[in-house]
Every structure is written in structure tokens, then in C-alpha cells.
């Protein structure tokens, strides 16, 4: 195949990495195509750090960071964003919590002021905490009204018995309901430190000038006690686990998850390629078989989930018409068996690699996307990963894909979750009109 070349615009030599005395990692990437600056801060805390009975804390904390500090009162963070024509949001995962601001490049510094302030001065007003608890509970319920949201939550709880990846990021309802402001505050003090964070700046600026601003905003915040390490390890799975979730839907859904190694593990690259070979695009293996030939599903996806700790490789499909989940499952296992026996051809492999290369370029056009890539990789592993990423992908052989499939996607390490009808009939309608 033709070799994969990283376009110069994306080479990592353009990324600056500075560590302040207090331990804050600062990543900078100049992008001068639009007058925009994205600033993000990433904390190395997510649902993996939560103790039993305290789930959902990382996510709840993310909500509280918009509720104000001594300096930026309640509502002011959003108001500043509005007045400056910007955008802001935040997200929490198993492994991290991240916040971003997008501003025009002549007024983005205010993001530094806000982030440095709320790293240490979050207000935790008890009334605000109780009001926001209701919002978080509504968010949790929205997730439970999604068939996939519900099924994957149950699947993770079964695939992991010990490791906290078993808990939903938003938390279990009863934990969120009984959460207290004191516990929340203690959690904040434990994890929100410069030495547990990465600041990422991507956009239209001169690196030298902004590093001075960063030092001014964050330099005086003292380093914190390093947070406790998360020591829980998932014991090996010794046989297939199956579970059924009963729900109101008439459409059966199937989710198969296999234990897989963490990001940057030597086998993780072959597993990423495998995911693309299986389900990326209409020419892919499972699309051709299940959607095209057997017409048993409306969609199918296969994906290696990048994570800090050993993770899952997911396959998902939605049944169609009278096709049973057993039939779909059998076809998927048959296809995986073929790949494990080495029936992957060079053309398929090359196509997958080109898709990954193009995706790497096409999906990084906005500064926010670039900041997310850098922040996530630095938080999960270290940005060196990006430097070698395409070379590593390029080095994957058909034999590597077969070996990874055989080693990880096997019967004894899978958790099969089925969403099946609970027999209920929905829909009673009541209509009225008064003109």
C-alpha cells in the first residue's frame, strides 16, 4: 500500500508542552486559519475514581463548576460567554473531566481567569447544590429513556465486577439522590489541583505571549497533595456472561463486549484496525454481511474503546423485522472466527488504514477538535502517543489483526447483553382541539 504520511499541519512538533512549577501541564497548538482560540482544562478524575456508594460525583462536580465562585457569581460564567460571543461546555468520562471555552482570539484570556479561579474557588452554595441535584437527576433519567443508554449501562455493570468502569458516569440514582455538598467539596479538594490537570490551548495566538498569561493566571496556585492512585484491577473473566434487559421496545438490540487492553498497549492498534475492518463504511465486513446480505439488522457497529485502564471492545446491532438476535449473534461470531483464522485480505487492511488516516485529518479541522485530541491523549497516556500513532497503525499486519481477534474477541471473555420486549403495549392517545 502507499505509505501513510502525516500532513505537516498535524505534526506534533508544532505542539508545545510546558510544565509549570506547580505541576500544571500546558499544551499549546497554534492554528492561524480562523481568529478563534479554544481553551480546555482536563482533570485526571472521572467515574473510575469514585468509591462505592459515591458514584456520579465527578459528573455532579462538573455541573457545580458552572455554579460560580466568589469572583464569578452564579450565572456569570455563562453570561461572560454570552457577552463575548463564545461557547462553553464540559464533559465527564470514566477517566477524566474536561471543560472548554471557544472565543474569538482578541478576547479569549477571560477563559484563563475563569478556569484558574474555579480550579480552587468553587462556591458550593448548599441551595445551589440541591437545585442542581434535580437537574442531574433529570439528566440521568434522560439517559434511561434511551434504549442504548440503558443497555450499555447494564452491560458495563456486568462486564466489570471490580473495576469502577462498572458504574455509570452519571452515577446510580440512589447515590446521586443522597449526595451531600460536604462530600462533593472534599472530592473537589482531592482532585482539582494544578498537578492533576492539563491546560490545552489551540488557535490563533503566539505561544510565547500566552505562556506568560498562563503563568500569571495559574502560577500562584499551590500544588496539591497528589490524589490517591486507583488500585482496583478487574480479575480475568472465566466464561461468557449473558444478561437480558426487559424494556418497552418491540425492537431487539444486541450488545457484545469483550475485555480489551488499555490505550497504547501494543495490541490496541490492531484492535482499532479490526474495528474499522468490521464496521466502518458500507464496504466493511459486518455491514456487508448483516445489512447487505442477511438484512438482519438496521445497523451494526464495532469499536475499540480507548481508556486508561483495560477496557472493552464493543459490537452493537439493532435487529430488524423477524430476524432473531440469535441469528445475528451467530453471524457475528462466524465473521470473527474467519478473521481470527487469518481471512483478512491486504486490500481490506489497506482500506481500513486509509480510512483511519483520513479520519485523523478530516476530523481535526476545528480548534476544538484539536484541543480535545491533545487533552484526551495527554490525560490518558501522554502526547507522545500521537507522534507515533499513524506509524503504529501503518505497521499493523493482517496477521496482527487475526492474532488480536483471536486473543481478545473470544467466547470466554465476552458479555452479551440483549434488550428484549417486556410485552407492554405503549401508546394510548388522547387528542383535543378547541378553536
Amino acid at each position: 500500500m502507499s505509505s501513510l504520511e502525516i500532513p505537516s499541519a498535524f505534526a506534533m512538533e508544532d505542539v508545545g508542552r510546558t510544565v509549570l512549577d506547580n505541576g500544571l501541564v500546558v499544551l499549546t497548538k497554534e492554528v492561524h486559519t480562523s481568529p478563534i482560540v479554544t481553551s480546555m482544562i482536563w482533570y485526571r478524575v472521572g467515574s473510575r475514581n469514585e468509591e462505592l456508594g459515591q458514584t456520579g460525583k465527578s459528573h455532579f462536580l462538573e455541573h457545580m463548576l458552572f455554579k460560580g465562585t466568589e469572583r464569578f457569581k452564579k450565572g456569570e460564567i455563562d453570561l461572560i460567554t454570552l457577552k463575548n460571543g463564545g461557547g462553553n461546555n464540559a464533559f465527564t468520562s470514566h477517566d477524566f473531566t474536561a471543560y472548554y471555552f471557544n472565543f474569538a482570539s482578541d478576547r479569549w484570556d477571560v477563559a484563563l481567569e475563569i478556569e484558574s479561579d474555579r480550579m480552587v474557588n468553587c462556591a458550593f452554595d448548599p441551595e445551589e447544590f440541591e437545585a442542581e441535584k434535580k437537574v442531574v437527576i433529570e439528566e440521568l433519567k434522560t439517559g434511561l429513556d434511551s434504549p442504548w443508554g440503558l443497555l450499555l449501562q447494564e452491560q458495563e455493570a456486568s462486564a466489570f465486577k471490580v473495576h469502577p468502569y462498572r458504574n455509570p458516569i452519571v452515577g446510580w440514582l440512589q447515590d446521586v439522590e443522597r449526595a451531600t455538598v460536604e462530600e462533593q467539596q472534599a472530592y473537589y479538594r482531592r482532585y482539582y489541583h494544578p498537578n492533576n490537570a492539563t491546560l490545552v490551548l489551540a488557535g490563533d495566538f503566539e505561544t510565547n505571549q500566552i505562556l506568560t498569561k498562563v503563568a500569571r493566571a495559574f502560577g500562584l496556585i499551590p500544588a496539591g497533595t497528589p490524589p490517591p492512585s486507583m488500585l482496583l484491577k478487574e480479575p480475568p473473566q472465566r466464561g461468557e456472561r449473558r444478561l437480558i434487559v426487559r424494556w418497552r421496545s418491540k425492537v431487539p438490540r444486541l450488545a457484545i463486549a469483550y475485555h480489551a487492553p488499555q490505550i497504547a498497549h501494543v495490541d490496541s492498534y490492531a484492535l482499532q484496525v479490526l474495528g474499522v475492518v468490521l464496521s466502518e463504511g458500507k464496504a466493511s465486513r459486518l455491514y456487508q454481511r448483516l445489512v447487505e446480505r442477511e438484512q438482519s439488522v438496521t445497523f451494526v457497529s464495532a469499536e475499540y474503546g480507548e481508556a486508561k485502564d483495560p477496557t472493552l471492545f464493543h459490537i452493537r446491532a439493532e435487529a430488524r423485522g423477524d430476524h432473531s438476535v440469535e441469528e445475528i449473534e451467530t453471524s457475528i461470531y462466524h465473521e470473527l472466527g474467519r478473521i481470527a483464522r487469518g481471512e483478512v485480505n491486504q486490500h481490506e487492511l489497506d482500506r481500513a488504514k486509509h480510512q483511519m488516516e483520513a479520519h485523523f485529518i478530516l476530523s481535526r479541522e476545528r480548534t476544538l477538535d484539536q484541543a480535545i485530541l491533545l487533552g484526551q491523549i495527554e490525560t490518558l497516556y501522554g502526547i507522545d502517543y500521537i507522534d507515533s500513532y499513524l506509524q503504529r497503525i501503518n505497521a499493523v499486519t493482517t496477521a496482527d489483526v487475526a492474532a488480536a481477534c483471536s486473543r481478545y474477541l473470544n467466547e470466554d471473555s465476552r458479555t452479551v447483553a440483549l434488550l428484549l420486549s417486556d410485552g407492554s403495549e405503549q401508546v394510548e392517545e388522547n387528542e383535543s382541539e378547541a378553536d
Binding site: 478563534i36 450565572g75 463564545g86 437537574v135 433529570e138 458500507k282 485529518i361 481535526r364 479541522e365 382541539e433
Partner: protein, 429 residues
């Protein structure tokens, strides 16, 4: 310096051409990354489907990449995916769109496939059957989501006999009846160069690309087109309500009525109104501030009249997803905010903040090539002009407090609205 003036510093040049057959070509050079985005829009969509053939347009669009005179479905997919590109065909009420994204070295292949899909699809019988089954299955699957069910019911009540009353993909009974010939008919009637706009944005030189476009699409023959006509939808004069029981955690509430066209001269005043009432940054607008931030009723709540404005009038929608015990509080909360903005003038501060937000965030709509490619199509379809990037700021800056009061009274109604509630009504209060 205002952020938007920063934006203008790098405003893009649009190269506009019309081929001999009437096909409009809009090109923007954007060498920031080595990729190219193409967007070919056929100016006909589900709004032209006869009621008995609802779903025809969308079905036609979804089958464009399932076989042409010279390529099988697999050959199309394999060709584009092997170079890491993507080509997609999809549709809406207004347009059917074939879009492609490729690395700049593959621009020739992208154009070739794009023209093949537009000009020479064969709608193989085998794929027509498959796509029908798949669409039917997707309709069943979508009914699992209360928000979707609520949205469909809301449109039925708001639009009545107007084509937008139905889901763009049709109803199960109309999809079942669609035949291969219907798709050919649709293609023959509307897929004509004089009914297509092609926008291309990315890393290329206009002088080199134009001859390639001429090669790929220049020999396509034009023909006159007769578009169907239908009466304008009428805004309701009383309340319409619908309650649908569904076992779920939350109620999904849609409250609103008929909205405006994109070409309405009050569109910009309404954008400012949207920002104050139900949009903007974070939870600054009145509805999310009151119902989410203060009362804790919801994770998702918003309102907008401009979001769905198109060639046909869109909808004014206020939405909230909330626990059943909050139904009364949430519904009243939405109505109160709608009433307040129609009865009381907004403050000078609210107006200024909303205008600063809209003019300041405008630059984010033009960051990536696919966004610019879509904008070019909108600019052409809605007659915005390519100097829109400059004019927009003026449109927004001109809006006054009196304008907001006037358009609120004219286009929003806190009495005569449609209310649809879907979810666990048994626990509703």
C-alpha cells in the same frame, strides 16, 4: 476590536459560475488542511412528495449510492473508502444532498463518484426492497424515543394538511407502497443540472478545478421543470393538544405553533428574540435560566422559532423533558415566558448581550470546510448573497427593543398553541 471584524479579516472569496446546462457552481479555496468538501444539492425534497407517496424523495436519495450504470453498490463504497474518503446521500423536506469529503489528492475521484450518483443511479430492485424494509424497521425503532414520537405528533397538529405535517421519510403504509418506478420518476423530474447547486470548499485552485467540474457535469442535459404547488400553511386560531401515554422516566413536552420562513425580513429580530428567550450561551436565556437553573425541572429545555425556518414556514417550539410530577409547573413555565416576552419589552442589557453573542459567535459557523460548503448552498437557496458575512452583523446590530416587542407579538402566541406531551402520563401532575 470586535471579534467579528477579526472574522472579516479572513473572509473568504466565493467564486461563482454557471455551467452551460444551468448547474450553479460555488467554490472557495481553503488550503488550511489538505482536504476537500463537496456538496451537491438537488433543489427538491420531501415537500414535493404526493401524500400517497410520502417517503419517495428520501428513499430516492438513500438509493443513489446503491448502484449506477457503471458501478455496483459495493464498488462505490470500496472506491471511496479505499482512499479514506466518504460519500453520502441524504435528503430533507427541501433538498436532496450528495456530499463527499476526500483528501485533496482524491478530488478527481470524488467528483467522478458525485456525478455518477447524481446523473446515473439505477435504483436496483434488490436495493429498493432492502431499503423499504430498512426504513420500515427504522420507523419502528424511532418510536422507542419519546422525543421523536412527540415531535412527529406536534408536526401533525401544527401543519395539518401541509406537506410538512408528515415525517420526511414517510409513513409505514406509504413506504410499503413505494415502487422502483416512483424513484425513477422522482429522479427524472428533479435531478436536472438546472436544479442543482454544487459547492466545493478546500485545498484546490479554482482554475484547475473548474475544467474538472465541466468534464464531470457539463454534458448533463437540462430540461424545464414544473414544481408542484400547495397552499401555504395557516397558523392555528385555537389550542390543540395531544397526550400520548408511554412508559418512560420523563415526559417530553412540545409547545408551540407555526413559525416563519427563512426569507422573512423579521428573521434577524427573531434570532435575537430566540437568544433572549430560549437559546444563547449556556443557560443564559430566560427559559433555561428559569426552568433549569432556578427550578431544576429539566436537563434539556429550550425554545426557538428561527432554527427550523426554511423555504416553508418552520415551527416555533418550546421544549422540555421533565419528570411527570413537574408537568403542570413546566408547561406553565414555558407559557409564562412566552407571554412575558410578548407583553413586556426586553431590557436594554438583554438586547445588547444577545446581539453581542450573535455577532461574536458568527465566526464559529465558518471554521471548517463542510460548514462553509453548506453555507454556500444556504446563501444561494435563501438569496442571502455572498456578502452575507458582512451584512449579517448589520442585520443584527439594527434590531431594537421595539423590534423584539413587535415580532414577539406578531409571531408568538401564548394562547393559541399546540401542546404535545409524551411519556408516563399516569404520574403526571
Amino acid at each position: 476590536m470586535k471579534p467579528t471584524e477579526l472574522g472579516l479579516r479572513r473572509a473568504f472569496d466565493v467564486h461563482s459560475h454557471v455551467l452551460g446546462n444551468g448547474l450553479k457552481v460555488l467554490l472557495v479555496e481553503n488550503p488550511s488542511i489538505p482536504t476537500v468538501s463537496m456538496n451537491a444539492s438537488v433543489l427538491a425534497g420531501a415537500r414535493y412528495d404526493p401524500e400517497s407517496k410520502a417517503g419517495q424523495a428520501i428513499m430516492a436519495s438513500r438509493l443513489l449510492d446503491e448502484g449506477t450504470e457503471t458501478r455496483s453498490s459495493f464498488e462505490i463504497a470500496d472506491a471511496i473508502e479505499s482512499v479514506g474518503g466518504a460519500i453520502e446521500a441524504d435528503g430533507s423536506f427541501e433538498r436532496l444532498v450528495v456530499s463527499a469529503g476526500v483528501l485533496n489528492k482524491d478530488i478527481g475521484l470524488g467528483l467522478e463518484l458525485l456525478s455518477d450518483l447524481l446523473i446515473r443511479p439505477v435504483f436496483p430492485q434488490e436495493y429498493v426492497d432492502k431499503e423499504k424494509e430498512r426504513t420500515l424497521a427504522e420507523i419502528v425503532s424511532a418510536q422507542d424515543r419519546p422525543q421523536v414520537v412527540a415531535g412527529w405528533a406536534f408536526n401533525e397538529l401544527v401543519y395539518q394538511d401541509h406537506p410538512l405535517h408528515r415525517p420526511a421519510h414517510g409513513y409505514p403504509e406509504t413506504v410499503e407502497r413505494l415502487e422502483r418506478n416512483d424513484l425513477f420518476e422522482f429522479h427524472k423530474k428533479y435531478f436536472l443540472p438546472n436544479n442543482v447547486i454544487l459547492s466545493v470548499v478546500g485545498d484546490f485552485r479554482v482554475s484547475e478545478l473548474l475544467p474538472k467540474i465541466e468534464d464531470a457535469l457539463g454534458s448533463w442535459r437540462a430540461r424545464p421543470i414544473v414544481f408542484p404547488t400547495y397552499p401555504e400553511p395557516v397558523r392555528q386560531s385555537g389550542k390543540r393538544t395531544k397526550f400520548i401515554q408511554m412508559p418512560a422516566q420523563q415526559l417530553n413536552i412540545y409547545l408551540g405553533h407555526l413559525g416563519v420562513k427563512r426569507t422573512n425580513p423579521d428573521y434577524y429580530a427573531l434570532q435575537v428574540l430566540d437568544t433572549i428567550l430560549g437559546g444563547g450561551a449556556g443557560f443564559t436565556a430566560r427559559i433555561p435560566q428559569r426552568l433549569r437553573d432556578e427550578l431544576g425541572l429539566a436537563y434539556t429545555t429550550f425554545a426557538s422559532i428561527t432554527m427550523t425556518a426554511g423555504l416553508d414556514p418552520g415551527r416555533f417550539v418550546a421544549f422540555i423533558g421533565t419528570s411527570p410530577e413537574n408537568m403542570k409547573l413546566a408547561t406553565e413555565g414555558l407559557v409564562n415566558e412566552i407571554r412575558r416576552i410578548t407583553e413586556e419589552p426586553v431590557t436594554a442589557q438583554e438586547l445588547q448581550d444577545a446581539k453581542d453573542y450573535l455577532t461574536g459567535s458568527f465566526v464559529f459557523a465558518f471554521e471548517a470546510s463542510p460548514q462553509i460548503a453548506r453555507f454556500l448552498i444556504h446563501a444561494e437557496v435563501y438569496g442571502l448573497g455572498f456578502d452575507y458575512v458582512e451584512k449579517y452583523l448589520e442585520y443584527i446590530r439594527r434590531v431594537t427593543i421595539e423590534d423584539i416587542s413587535r415580532v414577539a407579538k406578531m409571531y408568538l402566541d401564548s394562547e393559541n398553541y399546540t401542546l404535545v406531551v409524551v411519556g408516563p402520563l399516569d404520574g403526571a401532575q
